[in-house]
Symmetry: C2
Subunit: 298 residues, 2 copies
């Protein structure tokens, strides 16, 4: 089995097509790395790339993209709805296959060091790479955004993990870190009452006492007139999808509401779903790595 | 996505280690092909190799192995419990990824033609490659075994698909064909009554009116003193694993018996299990090829 790391750089450019095209071309030009998907949002003025590759390829690709973004994007002119603090705003590294979280943490630090040494762009380490507990959460790290960063970096507790206490004048500062794969998993209910979805979301999400690795909100699907529990499963090994699903089922029963379907948005690692089959089929001693044929081909 | 074909050659040698080693070395020496697993059984006097590769590599590996087996194995001296008719007894080709059944049928014919032209070993096409309905089933094709084949080949309906109406003097005749992937799936019951497992097996297997692509028998797990429904799911797209599992559940309820676990024996394609997760989680519009991350890496 080959070592495979996913990384999902977020760039603060979502409308200028020539800049997006240049980033795509750069992403496709690194040996050992594949661009799986990219999407740009003009109102957020932001692009998200999903890429995979071997650790060395991924480190090289991350550096080249951060460099190109710093040449093409001037944060002093950036406007957009999405919070942001750098031309390359955030770069998470995700262990996919035969790679530990520790290796991804090391990878994130290597990239952070190089972009400081060669590009003079400072960075914060976040998620599993965080140097202290209050840097785990990206929203906290990014608070103040590009405009507020010069002042924030001078506060005692907000020195960058790499670099000096001042932003790069045009590229700002970047958050770099390792985290588990995230699966976007939504469960649809046979009710048009958003309050029921909200109550269920509150019951199952970690922040309000539910499953630790589940983030959840209630949303209304206006076109179908049904309520949905919309989740980010931020660690499917820690909180498997079936566990959130079954918890939603029994919480919904409280209101006589049933689950009518679910959605996986975007990509999921195979194991997040095979773990569910393992549960429902009650498979004894299943060895995912050895028994799944495709794992011998990667 | 790369084209990937699995093939599972069965050789009529399960005890002479030097012959087995030579076959293993040959299997490992073909570019573009991987030997995933091999097992030998002395009382059956038979070895089974599990291999995968691109179509051209697989065709080449199959030819080389049939050639080597014909040089090392003399069927006139072969004794073993398992039915057999050739040094290489049977070679199934299985579409795994980005390959159609039709392509595997074409592959099986190409290999059959080459082993006749270059090695003068005749063959029957079986399963999806069969030239007529009574050749689909391997047991029917192999009936009479090595010793009965000279006479069988002279019968009107049993001319080989490739080659003349006589066996290779030492290598016999080989069955070659394309078939869907097979998943060995067993379901354990909380009863020590083998008759209940037998009755459930009869209810769910295709041959007695159950699911078309499910083969099933009842067996006793002596060490645990429980009965088991032991299945070969010979086409998990036609008869998904969850469907057999749920049918066993409701048949077992007839006797107040519960399912206490299941087993996957050996390898399974990821999709056989992901289809089950798709069912139990009620996922709407799941696109296996696009949404499973690993599919972009193969």
């Amino acid at each position: 089995m080959a070592k495979i790391v996913e990384f999902i750089p977020n760039f603060s450019e979502g409308s200028r097509q020539d800049v997006i095209d240049a980033l795509v071309a750069e992403a496709k030009g690194v040996p050992g790395v594949i661009l799986l998907d990219h999407s740009s949002d003009a109102s957020h003025n932001r692009s998200v790339f999903t890429m995979v590759g071997d650790p060395d390829g991924v480190a090289e690709a991350a550096f080249r993209l951060v460099k190109l973004a710093s040449e093409k994007i001037d944060m002093r002119e950036h406007k957009g709805e999405h919070p942001r603090m750098g031309a390359t705003d955030v770069v998470p590294f995700v262990p996919i296959q035969d790679v530990t979280m520790e290796e991804c943490v090391a990878l994130s630090k290597k990239v952070a060091e190089r972009i400081w040494n060669e590009l003079h762009i400072p960075s914060f380490l976040y998620e599993s790479s965080a140097s202290r507990p209050d840097r785990v959460n990206l929203a906290k790290v990014r608070k103040g955004q590009f405009e507020g960063m010069p002042e924030k970096l001078l506060q005692d507790e907000w020195a960058p993990d790499y670099g000096e206490r001042k932003i790069h004048p045009t590229a700002g500062i970047t958050a770099i870190g390792a985290r588990p794969p995230l699966v976007a998993f939504n469960v649809n209910l046979d009710t048009d009452d958003i309050e029921i979805a909200n109550a269920i979301a509150k019951a199952i999400r970690g922040s309000s006492g539910g499953y630790k690795h589940c983030k959840a909100i209630g949303v209304m699907l206006e076109d179908r007139n049904i309520a949905q529990v919309s989740m980010n499963m931020v660690d499917y090994e820690g909180t498997p999808l079936y566990r959130a699903f079954e918890a939603i089922r029994f919480e919904a029963e409280r209101w006589g509401v049933r689950i009518i379907g679910s959605e996986i948005i975007g990509l999921t690692p195979a194991k997040a779903l095979i773990d569910c089959a393992d549960y429902y089929l009650k498979i004894e001693k299943f060895d995912y790595k050895k028994q799944v044929l495709e794992n011998h081909l990667l």
